[in-house]
């Protein structure tokens, strides 16, 4: 029997980026707010100090900051004809557990999506005609122009290092010429550039592209954000993604919001508290709060006026399905919303062996790199190419952590003296060009509940059915070919193009950019939330994060997650709190 706790105004399910942002804004608006986090408290000086943060085995390979599949995992299959089997250990993506969520162990690559990304279906149909029937892509119901002030707000919260390419419509030299217009430049200048990305930038320019320093949540200088929280200059230690920053140099909830939020009298964080159910009243139109379980197995009911799902996408969708909220998606009929339009990222790379030029790959930061956006979104004419959308190409100096990074030329044996010699010869002198492609929603890709496998609490696991389709394969091949063009212009000794081939696999790490399952939009038949992230059916329930992406763009998701969250908060503060109810009338 659950113990019923005193009601609060706001309950946050999960305490990563969006939970911290919402907690900060709504406590400032005077609301009593409780955050429930299944993992533990984590902070820079106690949990990832510089005296032990640079430990590749512990954090990357033994997953110290990640979700443990023994506690919670999901099952996976490539298509509906197969039997889904559990991810017994993590691989392709790395959800977090604990305060700060994946905002602790991300790289900090912080992009804006293109204006055309938000009107993906209508834009592409208008320019190229009807799309494939299986492609269930849609417009977001929100525009770039509406989001711009909130991209800005998130970038200033984080102290993003970068260079504007488009200020109020005026092109700026040195920035990304394809980006949507910005009201002002980034809060911090670009990071100092390492050699490999610099060579890539020169070759990209020589081949007719427009390179720019990638936007980074790694501080190029000391920075105090609008909340008054100070971040330190990045030291280029090369331990960002999969690691916590020991130096307060990477934006995370801990380094940008929590020092302020944790002091507020009307805020309370409960760690080791896992939400197992969203509770509904008998009408099915109102959430009454959530039920959660602590590590001793004690069950609590937390009533709240507003419920925000702020966990990782996979958990948000899982919780909706377990709570019976919304119609689960059925791929046979195409009906239903929850679990629909699950998408991901399609990546490939080209290793560029430079032979005699020493690059020092270990002098790195998570978002230290030079990119080009010439082949992202609809920045290029797709006529005759057989696909829509695209991705960026970038040469990053994120790290030289040697278990993960020891590039060897194509056809090198995987072990023995030749392998050892190849590692020794190429470690310091190899650059890698990455392609980072969009994934379009497809009617065969979705999330639902597994009929067989159960988690430690006896609940059905989430089941993922996903594969890359023609659009992804053609796009990724095209992007990889363009990366080869630039690689050759770097005048290498040799290159190794690693095209993305075959079925999607959960084995190798790719990206933690899972998206969708409770899409946003302007039609309740094809979206779970409206443009303000508010459930159409349950107006006091909000869903945040990449869970609401109708399909994925060719960028890392965090910048857009931040913008959507602040955009929704603005409407909640201005409209909803005065008059709780649907923010969009049909």
């Amino acid at each position: 029997m659950a113990k019923k706790l005193p009601a609060v105004d706001v309950v946050l399910v999960g305490f990563g980026w969006t939970g911290a942002m919402i907690g900060e804004e709504l406590t400032a608006a005077g609301l009593r707010t409780v955050a429930l986090e299944r993992g533990g408290w984590r902070d820079t000086s106690t949990d990832f100090a510089v005296t032990f943060a640079q430990d590749e085995l512990r954090y990357m390979w033994r997953g110290h900051l990640f979700q443990e599949p023994a506690h919670q995992t999901l099952t996976f299959r490539n298509d509906s004809s197969q039997t889904a089997l559990p991810l017994r250990h993590l691989g392709s993506f790395l959800p977090a557990s604990g305060v700060g969520g994946a905002g602790v162990h991300w790289n900090g690559q912080t992009w804006r999506f293109l204006p055309s990304d938000f009107v993906l279906r209508s834009h592409n149909e208008q320019r190229y005609g009807a799309l494939s029937q299986d492609m269930t892509v849609q417009d977001w119901g929100v525009t770039y122009d509406e989001l711009e002030p909130f991209y800005d707000k998130f970038e200033y919260l984080c102290g993003i290092s970068g260079k504007a390419g488009n200020l109020r419509g005026a092109r700026q030299d040195g920035g990304n010429p394809f980006e949507g217009p910005r009201a002002r430049d980034f809060p911090n200048p670009p990071l100092e550039m390492a050699y490999g990305p610099t060579l890539f930038g020169q070759a990209a320019r020589d081949t007719g592209h427009t390179p720019f320093p990638c936007p980074a949540a790694n501080m190029s200088r000391a920075y105090t954000n609008p909340l008054g929280v100070m971040l330190a200059p990045c030291t280029y230690c090369g331990f960002c993604e999969k690691f916590g920053c020991g130096n307060n140099s990477k934006s995370s909830p801990q380094t940008t919001i929590l020092p302020v939020l944790m002091r507020r009298d009307n805020f309370e964080l409960r760690t080791e508290s896992e939400v197992v159910r969203i509770n509904m009243d008998s009408s099915g139109k109102r959430a009454t709060g959530v039920t959660y379980v602590d590590t001793q197995g004690n069950e609590f009911e937390q009533p709240a006026e507003m419920v925000f799902l702020c966990a990782y996408i996979l958990h948000n969708v899982h919780l909706l399905l377990l709570s019976g909220i919304g119609l689960p998606y059925d791929p046979r009929t195409g009906e239903g919303i929850v679990g629909r339009n699950y998408a991901y990222q399609v990546v490939s790379s080209v290793d560029v062996f430079l032979g005699d030029r020493i690059l020092n790959p270990f002098v790195g930061a998570g978002a230290l790199g030079v990119g080009i956006d010439d082949y992202n979104g609809d920045n290029f004419d797709h006529t005759g190419l057989g696909f829509i959308a695209g991705g960026y190409l970038a040469c990053w100096n994120t790290n030289g952590r040697p278990i993960e990074y020891h590039p060897v030329p194509k056809d090198t044996p995987k072990w023995g003296s030749k392998f050892k010699k190849a590692m020794a010869e190429n470690y310091l002198t190899t650059a890698t060009i990455s392609t980072h492609g969009a994934v379009m929603a497809n009617r065969g890709n979705f999330l639902d509940l597994d009929p067989t496998y159960r988690d430690a609490r006896g609940r059905p696991l989430l089941r993922m059915t996903f594969d890359f389709h023609d659009n992804e394969h053609r796009m990724s091949d095209y992007l990889t070919d363009r990366a080869v063009d630039i690689a050759r212009a770097m005048k290498p000794r040799e290159i190794h193009a690693k095209k993305r081939t075959g079925h999607y696999s959960v084995v190798p790490y790719q990206t933690t950019h899972n998206t969708g399952g409770a899409a946003m939009g302007s039609d309740p038949k094809t979206s779970f939330v409206n443009k303000y992230l508010q459930s159409w059916d349950v107006p006091n329930l909000f869903v945040t994060g990449s869970t609401v992406f109708p399909q994925n763009a060719g960028y890392n998701p965090t910048g857009t997650i931040g913008a959507l969250t602040y955009f929704a908060l603005d409407a909640i503060k201005k409209q909803y709190l005065k008059n709780p109810g649907p923010l969009v009338q049909l």
């Binding site: 020493i358 020092n360 270990f362 079925h503």
Partner: protein, 255 residues
Amino acid sequence: MPDTLQRRAVLLAGVSLLAVNAVTRSQARTIAGGVPWTPGAGDAPTAEGSLKFFTPDEAAFIDAAVARLIPADDLGPGAKEAGVTTFLDRQLAGPYGHAETWYMGGPWHDGTRSQGYQSRLTPAALYRTAIKAIDDHCRQAFGGKTFSTLSPDQQDSVLTDLEKGKFKIEGIGPHAVEIEGAKADSFFSVLLQNTLEGFFSDPIYGGNRDMIGWKLIGFPGAHYDYRPYVGQHGKKLPIEPVGLRGRPGWMPNQS
């Protein structure tokens, strides 16, 4: 050489786990007159001491195998000299060996390649099972010799067959029989991955002794501030490698 290497049918998960516990041993020892490690060597108390997981025969197998995967040669010491056997021993005796964080609930199916590891064996049980099976195979194929007593060429041919999936180790999971080569869950690819971990991880874990792996490629280790070096394009940096516990120059030498 037989295509199929027979393994006695005792390898249900429960049996294997019991076997792991039954065979694991830690030998008694006395420490007196100083710390049980060499000052100035830049490595680890954890690198010393008796085996915690492997039997002596298993350790001999691992010594021999990792010495072929990353050999000592004219470029310098290899995985055996770097202490990869000690690293693996500690890893398999600990949470990794017991798959403590893995989802190990049934039912069990072979699955497709893209579904990843679907064996019911923990890493510890996988090693124990595979080493015995490979040694049984070697005895049969090489006149009673175990893997560690074969010539390097013979060892390479056994490892190559394992890598290419040319023979099957029953009971360690379905993909070991596939012919395309190393799979995510085949013993060979797990051994190779763990060997790289032991060769390149921080010396606190017992491998990468004296930072042998890092010195081979030029990785400076656990530095946390490279600001002076970002703009030094094309230059080899004059940085000695350092581990989480420091480096030899930071420790007093024996008088």
